[in-house]
Symmetry: C2
Subunit: 243 residues, 2 copies
Amino acid sequence: MSYELHYWPGIPGRGEFVRLALEAAGAPYIDVARESVTRGRGLPAMMQLLQDRQARHPPLAPPFLKDGDFVIAQTSAILQYLAPTLKLVGRNEQSRSWTLQIQLTIADMVSEAHDTHHPVGVGLHYEEQLPEALRRATGFCRERLPKYLHWFEHIVAHNPAGPRHLVAGKLSYADLSLFQLIEGLRYAFPRATAQVLAGTPHIVALHERVSELPRVAAYLASPRRLGFNEQGIFRRYPELDIV
Amino acid sequence: MSYELHYWPGIPGRGEFVRLALEAAGAPYIDVARESVTRGRGLPAMMQLLQDRQARHPPLAPPFLKDGDFVIAQTSAILQYLAPTLKLVGRNEQSRSWTLQIQLTIADMVSEAHDTHHPVGVGLHYEEQLPEALRRATGFCRERLPKYLHWFEHIVAHNPAGPRHLVAGKLSYADLSLFQLIEGLRYAFPRATAQVLAGTPHIVALHERVSELPRVAAYLASPRRLGFNEQGIFRRYPELDIV
C-alpha cells in the first residue's frame, strides 16, 4: 500500500524533507494535494483531513502522512516514524535519538531561515515587516548561519565511521535533510551561504554525494521536484542576503 | 547510575521539560549546572562539555543529557530517548510517534511564546524591539494561543481511552509537557490564557491532575523547582498580554 503525503502544493517547504526520504528509499507514495481533484485528491482532500472534527490524531498543520489508518504530522516525527521501515536510520535507540537530534537542529535552522522574512508575524506580508526583516536577517547571516553550519561540519568531520555521513557509515534521513537545508540556504542567501560553505568542505561534499544517489538524482531531474519560490520558507530576497 | 541534566541555571526554560520527566518518574539525576563549582560541577562543567572540540555528539545548545557516555540534546529528542526507560510513553511505534508529534507541537508553541518578546533577534534586548514585540504578541494572543490550545483540547477530548491523558490511558511525557506549557502561558499571558482556557475544560483538568501526582507535587513544592522570570522563555510583560 502507498503512503499518502499531504502538503501544500506549489512549495517544497517542510513537506520536501518527507518527500526526499520517500524518494531516496524508493517507497510508493501519493502526493495527495498535488494530484487531480477529479480523482478525489488534490487540495480539497488534504483540507478535508485537516478540518475533520472527529479525527483522533488531527494534524495541526501540514505536512502529514497517512499510513493506512495511522496519521502522523510534524516533519521530524514523520521521519522518525518512517525511517526504520525505509532503512534510513540505524537500529539501536542511541542511533535513532542522535539522528533525531540532528533533524531537530535542521528544523530549528529552517524555522530561523523562515523568520528572516516574517519576524513580526506569519499573518502579515513580507512588505509589512521589511525593516524588521533586515535586522533579523543580519543576525541570521552573520551569527546563526555560521554557527549551525560549523556544527554540522563538526559532526561530519568527527563521525567515527568517517565523513561520508552524519550518522555512522550509512545514509540516514538526516543526510537527506541536510542536503535540502543547504539547497534552501543557497537559494535564499547565496552570498552569505557561499562564504560559510567555503570553510565547511565536509558538508559540501556530503551535499554533492546525496545529489548523486541514483534515486535522488532521478527525483531531482523529475517534475515531482518543486523549485523554491517566494511563497515558501526559503525566499530569495537579495536585500536579506547579508555578508 | 544517575543521569546528568545540563541546562542554564536560574531559568526553567526548555530544561524544565526534561527535569519534569525525570522527577515524575523518580529517576536519579544530577542537575549539573545548578550544583556547586567546588565539586567539579556548576556552570563551568556544562560549558566545558558544550565547548569540547573533540566531542562526537556535541550539543549545539542546552538542554542536554548525559547517560553514561551517551550525550543527547534537543528537548524532544531527549524525551523520546528517555521515555521508554522512564515508562513515560507507550510501547508501540505509533504510540511513540504520536507522543513525539504532540511534544513537537508543544515545542513549536514554546518557541512562538519566546518570539513574542524577541521577534527581531535573540542578540538584541527586549527593549530594543518593543514595537515589534507588541505586533507579534497581538498575533500570538489572538490567533496562535487559541489555535494551539483548542488543538490540545480536541485530542484530549477525542482520546479513545478517555480524557484523562493525551495519549492512551497512561501518563506520558506529553502530559507533563502540556502541564508546563500551561504553567508558562498562565505566567506570561495571564489574561489571554484565562480567556482561552475558559473554553478548554479537559486540558485545565489534565493540568490539575498532573500537578497532583505525588512525585510531581513533591517536586513542585521543593527548592528544585525554579520559578519563571524575565530571563527565560515565558516572561511577564503585561503589555504583551493582549486580550
